[in-house]
């Protein structure tokens, strides 16, 4: 077995939390059950990974199999990477007839025709997600297994989730291969980025709970249940306002959990509005500034701002439009007359 492959497997196993190593190796399926029985999974990780490498040598693992283990690891822990969302466009009206084998063939052929030194692996999952792992090389060097890009694609949708790596220069090539393989015409990057792959999927596939007005009797949640145990001496002075805030919040954010985003960024190119007497800026130029909101869970924290009394309800539509517009990067320019609108940056 190749030294580099052995080292790669060793390092991949080291990344896995100790309690998960056995399950992940079982999912991998490269080592037999009897072989796995011989490993003591209670020792320190260094030793576990060493044992795994020895067994892999017995089975003569090559880079393709090692890559599969890497995909399984990344599929279990996708939130360690930053994902961007790309959208593809097509003009035709042909019925979508996605053939997986065809897709894989076209993708590999397109990519390899431009760059011979790439390792490409595919893995399909139950939810129709196709994971593609690409290790990039150059025309003169072998693929670097530590510089990988990941692509997640759900068939017959126009959205692709990409976790590129350091090598941004390979992105155009990757985009081209995707477009060709999936029978679309072009592709563009959306202004949507985050760590939580599932949340990004929820946003573009509209799987989160948007509050639609319907007549269908939904089970009434505990709203305004008279708290029988509350102290009658405590009177809520602001009850109607509190209820209004809850109602408005619910209309905007819906009932369910919000998709998880870590930041929203607003690039302002608007005129600074000051007292004309103060005359802060001599020239009437747009005042450039960048506003970035960060949070472990941005949308949930925005949802709780008004009920917590930290902001007025309803919140600014610039904040609440994030899931619906499927973007968390905004460029705000001056709109004539009205308050600044946002324009999609091409």
């Amino acid at each position: 077995m190749d030294e580099t492959v052995a080292e790669y497997i060793r390092r991949t196993v080291l990344k896995i939390p100790r309690d998960e190593i056995k399950t992940m190796l079982q999912k991998w399926g490269f080592l037999s059950e009897t072989q796995l029985q011989t490993i003591n999974f209670h020792q320190i990780k260094e030793n576990i990974s060493h044992d795994v490498v020895l067994l892999c040598e017995e089975n003569s693992a090559d880079i393709k199999q090692a890559a599969v283990l890497d995909i399984i690891y990344n599929h279990s822990y996708p939130n360690k990477r930053v994902w961007s969302v790309y959208q593809m466009n097509k003009t035709g009206e042909e019925t979508e007839l996605f053939d997986l084998t065809d897709f894989k063939k076209k993708f590999k052929r397109r990519l390899r025709s431009a760059l011979k030194n790439v390792t490409i692996n595919f893995r399909e999952y139950e939810d129709n997600a196709i994971w593609i792992r690409i290790a990039w090389g150059t025309p003169y060097t072998q693929p670097n297994q530590y510089k990988t890009s990941y692509v997640v694609y759900h068939s017959q949708t126009p959205y692709v989730f990409v976790s590129a790596s350091v090598l941004k220069s390979n992105l155009p090539l990757l985009c081209q291969a995707l477009v060709v393989a999936s029978n679309y015409h072009d592709i563009r990057e959306m202004e949507l980025r985050g760590h939580s792959l599932n949340s990004l999927k929820d946003i573009v596939f509209k799987r989160y709970n948007q509050n639609f007005q319907t007549y269908y009797p939904r089970p009434l949640q505990e709203r305004n249940v008279a708290p029988g145990s509350a102290d009658l001496r405590i009177i809520q002075e602001n009850r109607s306002e509190k209820e209004r805030i809850q109602r408005v919040n619910r209309e905007v954010f819906g009932d369910g959990p919000q998709p998880k985003l870590e930041f929203a960024q607003y690039k302002l190119e608007t005129m600074f509005k000051s007292d004309p007497k103060m005359d802060v800026l001599d020239k009437k130029e747009p005042f450039r500034c960048l506003v970035k909101f960060s949070s472990p869970h941005l949308l949930e924290s925005l949802k709780s701002l008004a009920p917590a009394g930290m902001a007025d309800a309803p919140l600014s539509p610039l904040l609440t439009c994030i899931p619906q517009k499927a973007r968390n990067y905004f460029k705000i320019r001056e709109k004539k007359g009205v308050f600044p609108g946002s324009f999609v940056s091409p």
Binding site: L97, N128, Q156, F205, K206, F212
Partner: protein, 276 residues
């Protein structure tokens, strides 16, 4: 066809409008009667009190027995709420229901397959300055933009009908594939290859003949996105399979074209049992 469906929708809309008119008239009538009921209630209570006194005096009976034939105002209100809820439930069960919003209409398309209710999808439409989709929860592999471009501005009924056909067919295909994986996984070898629209299924399954099992490979292509039955079925068996199996393959192919996937597999199971 589409026209039959349109006519049916039109008839439904007419019925709904008539029903609504009736409900409104009934409501007015009810309000008037309510006021009358209040008057009569007062009278009744007075009379009842008199009767009570007399009864207590004569027979020593305790308590008041309220007249079950005369419903109280509360009972009337409860009945009213129940019947309105039932009406809304009926609308929901017809598959397409809508609610007027401040800026337009919000439609709910519910899907079902052979008696089982599946997911619901929502469309929030704005009506001014022109009809446009504000938000929706339709999956991105359903060609919503295409359908909207064709029909949304010109014929909204047709738009809803076509979209409902797509969604129902997709829900039906997915349901069949899910049922197959859930209940007949022992007959399937390897993975069931499918895609987001569930319009291409490829898998291998076991067929037993004369106490030997053979592997059939089947490719189901659902060319019509508004249909939940395949338009093309290709079954191939291993080269070493006996020629009698070709007949079985043809029979299966025909069955898959006519019958829901999981029902087809159920019939295989019972056919085998009857053969043994």
């Amino acid at each position: 066809g589409v026209f039959a469906h349109l006519e049916m929708l039109e008839a439904q809309a007419h019925e709904a409008a008539v029903k609504q008119e009736e409900t409104e008239q009934q409501e007015e009538k009810l309000a008037r009667l309510k006021a009358r009921v209040q008057e009569l209630r007062l009278q009744r209570d007075e009379l009842r009190a008199k009767v009570d006194l007399q009864q207590k005096g004569q027979l020593g009976k305790e308590g008041v027995v309220s007249d079950p034939a005369q419903p109280s105002a509360r009972a009337v209100l409860e009945w009213k709420i129940k019947s309105v809820k039932a009406m809304l439930q009926v609308f929901y069960l017809t598959g397409i229901s809508g609610k007027l919003t401040k800026r337009g209409v919000c439609f709910c398309i519910s899907t079902a397959y052979e008696g089982t209710y599946l997911d619901s999808y929502y469309l929030d439409l704005l009506t001014k300055p022109e009809v446009q989709i504000h938000r929706h929860s339709v999956p991105s592999f359903i060609p919503l933009e295409q359908i909207a471009k064709k029909y949304l501005q010109t014929d909204i009924r047709r738009f809803l009908s076509v979209l409902s056909d797509h969604l129902n067919a997709y829900a039906g295909r997915r349901y069949q594939a899910d049922q197959l994986q859930e209940h007949f996984s022992d007959q399937i070898e390897g993975t069931l290859q499918r895609n987001s629209l569930c319009n291409l299924l490829v898998f291998n399954y076991n067929v037993s003949s004369k106490s030997k099992t053979f592997l059939f490979n089947v490719r189901l292509l659902y060319g019509d996105l508004c249909c939940s039955l395949p338009t093309e079925v290709t079954i191939s068996c291993a080269p070493d399979a006996p020629t009698s199996l070709a007949e079985t393959a043809a029979a299966h192919s025909d069955l898959f074209r006519r019958v829901a996937l999981h029902k087809a597999f159920r019939s295989f199971g019972s056919a085998e049992e009857s053969m043994d």
